[in-house]
Amino acid sequence: MKVFIALLQKEFLQIRRNSFLPRLIIAFPILVMLLMPLIMTMDVRNVNIAIVDLDHSSTSHRIASHINASEYLSLAQSTAEYPLALDALKHGDIDIIVQIPNNFERDMTISTPERISITANAVNATKGSMGLQYTVQTIAKALAELQCEKSPINVQELLTVENRYNPTLNYRYYMIPALMIILFILICGFLPALSIVGEKESGTIEQINVTPISKLTFTLSKLVPYWIIGLFVVTVAMIVARLVYGLSPVGSVATIYFGAILFIFTISGFSITIANFSDTMQQTMFVMFFFVMIFMLLSGLLTPIDSMPQWAQRFTLLLPPRYLVEILRSVYLKGTTFIELWPNFVALGIFAIFFNTLAALTYKKQA
């Protein structure tokens, strides 16, 4: 125990004396939480529409004004020539072309009119398909309005829509838990590994290896500082989410801390295991980045797991972040309780034990 305390003191002294690390540990969570949610958005906005109006009727004007009024669409061009609009689409000035055929309004009242044609630039598939949907909805709404002016029932009023748990469909509320996890990965995932490999590169680890220190004591002395720093990061992230985005958990803060702690244990244990197998910073960084990429892109942080192919969904069961993101999102937005989420905690607990044991076992004092 005395040895452990001496080593822990040494770790904290080294972190404090580092000209860069303490600043990074404070600035990182604040910057990431302040900036990323503002910038990163999957909402499709500012879809530029060109209307090729061959009809020049009140209906076509109604459609144009609906498009202009939409939150997501903006009417960027109004022309009578389709090739002109197509040219603009090619240059990227326009995302979607809506062509209203000649005599559309007249034909609508007497027979089936020639169809409105919509052309989308689908280079960015998300923007293309989402923009298309918004456009179709907007036009449908405009036409429905016209229709119901003539009939007593408004089709729109037959529907009520409610977005449960995230009533304003705020993408940030979905992103903030993911960003917290990315912070844990960056801080508690990279720093312990770099600390160990740093000792390997400077040779100090050899002086440690020639002492009777136990593997477990040394490994723990590398882990504990980052567990404490991890707790600091969770706290800062939650405070920023609350103060800046007005997002506070519906469920209990304790559940969030508990999940975060298990995840921090897991990722730091993982980090040390990687360091034990590497000799240089380069190796460590490269291997860590590989896994971090998998963790960030495949664990449902940024894209929903439900939309992945079946086999990939099964693969995500091996990724620790997927359990925490589920915990954080459901506690934050739905107020889910610890009991309801127990399988996620058990999974994280198993990962935590597994990686920390592996970290202590793979540390070789004698080669």
């Binding site: 001496a6 080294q14 004396r17 220190i213 004698q366």
Partner: protein, 246 residues
């Protein structure tokens, strides 16, 4: 306890097809200064690492301070001090912090630690530098500090791997005074060096060539045997036959 502190029999270390240490055997007595000589790549460091419990022998056997190098590596570590070729104290800790850290690691009590630190600082005339970061000390000072920290827990044996490489002659002299002092107190010194004047200071010297020990005796008798005037000549005669290293 017997007076043999290090005893090695047919110790071998192989990396793939490369035999770094080839069947070496020797004994070291308590209080001896044992010079472990050899050209670069002769296998000195590898042999020393096996004796310190940093590396497992491929075959052969040996005991250090009464413990088996194969099985009791961790026990050996309690009874030895080690100073590696590369400076390996913490540069971002002060002189005193490094002393305290290693004292705690070896289980010295708080009171004993402070006493020992004061004693060692006085021995080095380092009192004024106790709160200086080790990284900002000159190389010679760093090496002397490494040595005294390796002795902080009164080990039976101290292993020194080229402790005076790159150190100026005056500091080298002072360093050897520290070694002598430790040996007088009954500590066994196991030292590798490339300075042949240092070899003359040793009680006994072994010379390794290509992983094998070619000669082992007191400096005086080695010089007689090879009818040489200095250890330098002895070394040249033996090392000329080396096929690897250089």
């Amino acid at each position: 306890m017997s007076d043999i502190v290090i005893s090695v029999k047919n110790l071998t270390k192989q990396f793939g097809n490369f035999v770094a240490v080839d069947n070496i055997s020797f004994d070291v007595q308590r209080g001896e200064i044992f010079g472990f000589l050899g050209a670069n790549g002769a296998g000195k460091t590898t042999a020393m690492r096996m004796l310190c419990g940093l590396s497992y022998p491929t075959s052969g056997s040996g005991t250090v301070a009464g413990y088996d190098v194969m099985r009791n590596g961790e026990q050996i570590k309690r009874h030895i001090g080690y100073m590696s070729q590369r400076f390996s104290l913490y540069n971002d800790l002060t002189v005193l912090e490094n002393m305290r850290l290693f004292a705690s690691i070896y289980g010295l009590s708080k009171k004993h630690t402070e006493e020992r630190a004061t004693e060692l600082l006085n021995q080095l005339n380092f009192m004024s530098e106790r709160n200086t970061l080790v990284g900002s000390l000159p190389l010679g000072w760093k090496q002397k500090l490494s040595f005294v920290i390796a002795t902080i827990h009164h080990p039976d044996v101290i292993f020194l791997d080229e402790p005076t490489g790159g150190v100026d002659p005056i500091t080298r002299r002072q360093f050897w005074e520290l070694i002598y002092k430790a040996a007088e107190n009954g500590t066994t010194i196991f030292v590798t060096t490339h300075y042949m004047d240092e070899a003359e200071y040793c009680s006994r010297v072994s010379i390794m060539v290509d992983g094998k020990i070619c000669a082992l005796d007191t400096p005086t008798r080695l010089k007689e045997q090879y009818s040489a005037n200095s250890m330098d000549e002895v070394f040249r005669t033996l090392a000329r036959g080396a096929k690897r290293g250089g």
